[in-house]
Symmetry: C2
Subunit: 315 residues, 2 copies
């Protein structure tokens, strides 16, 4: 028996531990924007980001966050999920290594230990190596999740996949000069849209609570506008909810992340098409896969909302 | 349609963000103890601890962690939950204030701002004040959740409820000398069992996955034994999963928490009875409430398990 009658909260499962990426959501909550939509938002964090797709896909939460690549892969696996909006547009993703590691080009991974996040990161590394003519036995792939900085500091890996605005900033602060090889450039993709972070929902939420999705996205877009327009205040609101983030490192990560917050929150068809071709290339989906089933902009506000600049933004 | 066929993971929702309290669980996971029981454990963290009872109570996760007091209160509200084991026995809880605040006895809250965690913390503060002959209008109660240290540092409150092994340690590190007034002594309770942290499960988990509960508790007890017997190694395993905890402050919190980990993990009838009387006193449950419906030791291993000392522990 599911105790529907006692459920009062809408659950949101983040893609990673709560961090500056999620400022628009924490700002919206602190400013009462969800309450304005009659939504009591319970924000949950995964300890292992690789758990998120299944938990959203098996309808154990109402809404989740996950990268575009994982949304497509989850859909292809049979999870009934769709992206209803974008949190972060194309955060540049790459191979991170200390300058002292001697890894200056992708060919330098020969003889090295390369950290990857999860199953798809492994496919990406192996595919890049194949194209570069590097045999799989000439480097060691090590699954380290999102903790690339810690894994390099612990000398578990020589290089690993991370974000220019996050783990690169962390590693620089802890250990000094860092090299960063953009995956999109290595793979000839043109952008890092495969790492764009999406708001994903199971079909059950769409069927049973469409108005909750609309209200959630309206409130979140107000939070995104506040974040980009009043960043210092927004970061303070994040820190009030998560005091562990109140330090210079996370402030720097926040400032480096600001340009990547999607203000329109729109799903961009060009990016989904590009990711679809890349996923086909990696043999994660087949050539008949219909990418348009993975996303919809139907639940986004028609007019982007800004509390501080409500009129004439396009004049 | 719930996608049961695609569900492979057992979800555990912690009582708070992942921190040294949860070392037995992270140690058990890293050491493969859950895998030994065929359990893929997905550990989730709440951003707001006040969300946990409802999420477990509405069967959105398989297992949760929550204080004894909240387990009783949730049960009384109609959530079909029971405690199946204990994580932390009676962590001393109290009113925390900087020495410089001038709050040396409970009477000194007069004219001050007092932080509380959630709805039951407010009842406890008000009840203590009533017994001390302090009028509710002579102090200001401020809901601040678990973030008492940050709220004191931000000058939002003068004192607040927290743990001797956690927020008191944090505040001392950040701001110097701290006063700590134990709630159990103020209330004449004799112990802080109302704050003991329990493993709670919804009835659905008991009905559909009793062997999962048994396997989870067996693996977790191995993790608890490892934590108390090899604390440095256990803390390192926690930090590998959560590198943000790799600092001196969390190491100190871990060391101060060690004595409170339950090694037997048993529910203690004496404590449940005491909490029942206290909850009746606070008018949270009525005098007919049957406390024995709130807990069971049926799923715990018959013989406590230790990997390092498997024999003769009682000789």
């Amino acid at each position: 028996m599911i105790m529907h009658s006692l459920k009062t909260k809408t659950t949101l499962l983040l893609n990673w531990y709560a961090n500056p990426y999620h400022t628009p959501i924490f700002a919206a909550k602190a400013l009462g924007f969800y309450a304005d939509e009659d939504i009591k938002l319970a924000i949950l964090e995964p300890t292992d980001p690789s758990d998120v797709t299944e938990i959203v896909g098996t309808e154990q939460v109402d809404i989740g966050l996950k990268a575009m690549l994982h949304t497509v892969a989850g859909h292809a696996k049979g999870f009934p999920i769709s992206s209803v909006a974008t949190l972060l547009d194309e955060p540049p993703t790459g191979l991170i290594a200390l300058k002292s590691s001697g890894i200056n080009t992708f060919h330098d991974i020969t003889g090295k230990r390369v950290g990857y996040i999860g199953e798809f990161g492994k496919k990406i590394i192996d595919n890049l190596a194949q194209h570069a003519g590097i045999d799989q036995k000439d480097y060691q792939a090590v699954r380290i999740g999102m903790n690339v900085t810690d894994a390099i500091c612990r000398d578990i890996i020589d290089a690993g996949i991370g974000f220019i605005n996050f783990q690169k900033v962390e590693l620089e602060q802890l250990r000094g000069d860092v090299n960063f090889l953009r995956l999109d450039q290595l793979a000839g993709l043109g952008c890092c849209c495969f790492c764009s972070i999406q708001y994903i929902v199971p079909d059950k939420t769409i069927q049973q609570q469409p108005e909750t999705i609309r209200g959630f996205l309206k409130a979140t877009q107000r939070g995104a506008a506040f974040t980009t327009e009043q960043p210092d205040e927004a970061f303070e609101l994040l820190c009030q909810a998560k005091p562990q983030l109140r330090n210079e490192l996370y402030k720097k990560i926040f400032l480096r992340t600001l340009p990547f917050f999607s203000r329109s929150m729109l799903n961009v068809a060009r990016d989904w098409n590009k990711v679809n071709r890349y996923m086909q290339h990696l043999n994660i989906v087949d050539s008949k896969f219909d990418i348009t089933t993975c996303y919809t902009n139907e639940y986004l506000p028609v007019v982007p909302y800004s509390d501080t600049a409500p009129i004439a933004c396009c004049i």
